[in-house]
């Protein structure tokens, strides 16, 4: 029962180095298989996670370098606020799997070309197991500067040698389900792969029926912990063919009451979305504040659930959180929690284990939440109450 599975060789990020990316002047941080990000509001948690979405955007269908920049409002919006107007932005990531042969590095440096008024790549490098296999600009790039408006990684006709890396970036998933958008998909403007859940039901609909049923059964079982009165969960199309999820709630009526996602509570919808995302795919999964709308008792068990999923699948989780309950968990390593600290020179990121004070408190029996979260508290949070006067 217990020992059956060897984890599959799943790729994950091990390090990320950023320069002039959004809030970050310069950060270089190691990433474990499960990463929690904590910091004050607007300290840059989402901006940090956006790097991974950016990499995914480079190689996704209908994506590419120019599109990924455009989507973010251009270089001037993307560049670090404390740097000069159109700074050179650097992204350097390292990835690995368990074997010695699965190590990749990808580096991309780019800026705004003022004359041509478009983003342009300065350099692009791919390193496989320590050996550099791409180092742009090549001679051909210098001869034809137009080439520097696209990455090699996004081009199928040249990326053969490092397609495994492109596939890995493509496997990144981001989720921040907003229940209102799931209920009223019109609000998301019909986007595909909408991280806010606008196409969530479409995605469920597109999943092959057997797998869909399997997923929903698993989700229903897991949900029974949080919502014991939910007795069934299934996929359903209404008379117009519009896909829905519906659940049967056992209240006082013996046969129960069917409700569709339009009547599900916010917490139910978020949990369903979260569990679906966990079952779907095995690339890195980015979760923004998964504790939202959940009872503190449910949120408290999330970290161990993630740990068990990754024991089984090897999948990497990158999670932003403000939750005291979530960070109570005794199994979260000091190297798994990254603290974001805004400073006048941009936000810095450090592992909780880098703080001697946190280490000492943990040794003395303090919970990680109590040892770490006060450090991310905005200094004058109490003044918000004055707004009420």
């Amino acid at each position: 029962m217990v020992s059956r599975d060897k984890p599959p060789l799943v790729q994950r990020f091990t390090n990320v180095h950023l320069e002039n990316w959004r809030n970050f002047r310069s950060v270089d941080v190691g990433l474990t298989r499960r990463v929690f990000l904590a910091g004050a509001n607007a300290s840059g948690k989402s901006n940090f996670l956006d790097v991974f979405r950016f990499l995914q955007g480079l190689v996704s269908v209908g994506g590419g370098f120019q599109a990924a920049i455009r989507k973010r409002g251009g270089i001037s919006r993307l560049g670090c606020l404390v740097a000069k107007k159109n700074p050179e932005i650097l992204i350097h990531v390292k990835t690995a799997n368990k074997t010695s042969k699965g190590q990749w590095e990808y580096e991309l440096q780019f800026t705004q070309n003022n004359r041509r008024k478009m983003p342009i790549i300065w350099s692009e490098r791919v390193i496989r197991n320590g050996e550099q296999i791409l180092n742009r600009p090549l001679d051909s790039d210098i001869a034809d500067p137009e080439r520097m408006t696209q990455t090699y990684l996004e081009q199928v006709n040249v990326n053969r040698e490092y397609r495994a890396l492109a596939d890995f970036f493509r496997s990144i998933r981001y989720l921040h389900i907003i229940p209102e958008i799931v209920r009223e998909p019109d609000r998301s403007g019909g986007r595909r792969n909408d991280p806010y859940g606008g196409d969530f039901l479409d995605q469920v609909a597109k999943t092959p029926p057997a797998i869909r049923k399997q997923h929903l059964t698993k989700i229903r079982e897991a949900l029974s912990v949080a919502i014991p009165q939910l007795k069934a969960l299934e996929f359903w199309r209404d008379a117009r063919g519009v896909p829905h999820l519906r659940g049967n709630y056992k209240h006082w009526k013996p046969i129960g009451v069917w409700q569709t996602e339009e009547q599900f509570s916010n917490g139910t919808l978020r949990l369903i979305g979260l569990l679906w995302a966990i079952l779907d795919g095995n690339g890195p999964l980015i979760l923004e504040e998964p504790e939202l709308s959940l009872h503190s008792d449910v949120a408290r068990h999330l970290p161990q659930m993630f740990a068990k999923v990754q024991q089984r699948t090897g999948r990497q989780f990158l999670i932003s959180t403000h939750s005291n309950e979530l960070l109570q968990d005794e199994g979260i390593g000091l190297n798994e929690l990254l603290l974001l600290e805004p400073t006048p020179r941009g936000t810095t990121i450090r592992q909780a284990g880098d703080f001697a004070g946190i280490q000492a408190m943990i040794k003395g029996g303090t919970s990680l939440a109590e040892a770490a979260l006060p450090r991310t508290r905005p200094p004058n949070a109490q003044q918000l109450a004055l707004f009420g006067e």
């Binding site: 029962m1 217990v2 020992s3 599975d5 060897k6 474990t32 499960r34 014991p228 009165q229 056992k250 006082w252 408290r300 068990h301 970290p303 161990q304 659930m305 740990a307 068990k308 024991q311 089984r312 109570q328 968990d329 005794e330 199994g331 979260i332 390593g333 000091l334 190297n335 798994e336 284990g353 280490q359 943990i362 029996g365 919970s367």
Partner: protein
């Protein structure tokens, strides 16, 4: 007996594993567990103990506290924590930590962890630090999964692995392969006493008092 006619027992415990143990013990004694309070460590329990004790004047309560190394034996510890327990308060001290109770079913814990039974001590109440022992035993597991989930990872700076609690909770709750309190009680006096007191508490409540009906869906 119909579920809805069982006596509801309220609980207060230090952590999530203790909570699972509490539920199993109440169930075994023929009760239904009510809400479980505390679960934020020992000091938190102590701070709220007076309140729990007052509530235990009108409904049965079980409070489980680890002895740890606060005292050599339970009686002085009990006196310092709760000199005047209410009539329906079952204040029980775990010697020395809940892990000792779980180790007391040697056969099952050895099976569950995937280790030889001879590694599990026969007198778990004498173990100085049962949690540390549990992790040391998990290190010897032949299951990769147990090692990954229960043993702290290098660089984590923590005492336990990333899913230590949920693994133990699963062990406690697994009826077929998991913990058997009746067997464990033979090797742990504090557990035997706890089960005995809990039985009496429920008997007393059924004999002398109104039976509190549990709402249909409330607690599992």
């Amino acid at each position: 007996m119909n579920r809805s006619h069982k006596t509801i027992v309220y609980g207060a415990v230090e952590g999530l594993v203790d909570e699972a143990v509490f539920r199993v013990l109440v169930h075994l004694a023929g009760g239904a567990h009510g809400p479980v309070f505390g679960r934020h460590g020992k000091e938190y329990l102590r701070k709220n103990l007076a309140g729990y004790n007052l509530a235990a004047q009108t409904a049965p309560w079980v409070v489980l506290v680890d002895l740890d190394h606060d005292s050599d034996c339970p009686p002085p510890f009990r006196n310092s924590w709760l000199p005047n327990p209410s009539s329906s308060m079952c204040f029980r001290i775990v010697v020395r930590e809940v892990e000792a109770w779980l180790l007391a079913d040697r056969e099952r814990i050895a099976n569950y962890l995937g280790i030889p039974r001879r590694l599990v001590p026969s007198e778990p109440e004498l173990v100085h630090d049962p949690k540390k022992l549990m992790i040391r035993l998990a290190m010897h597991s032949r299951h990769r999964r147990i090692r990954y989930e229960m043993v702290p990872h290098p660089g984590s700076g923590r005492e336990v692995g990333p899913a230590y609690n949920s693994r133990l909770i699963e062990y406690v709750e697994n009826k077929n392969r998991g913990w058997r309190p009746e067997i464990a009680a033979r090797h742990s006096e504090s557990l035997a006493r706890c089960m005995h007191r809990l039985n009496n508490l429920l008997k007393q409540n059924i004999d002398n008092r109104t039976v509190i009906r549990s709402p249909e869906v409330a607690y599992y």
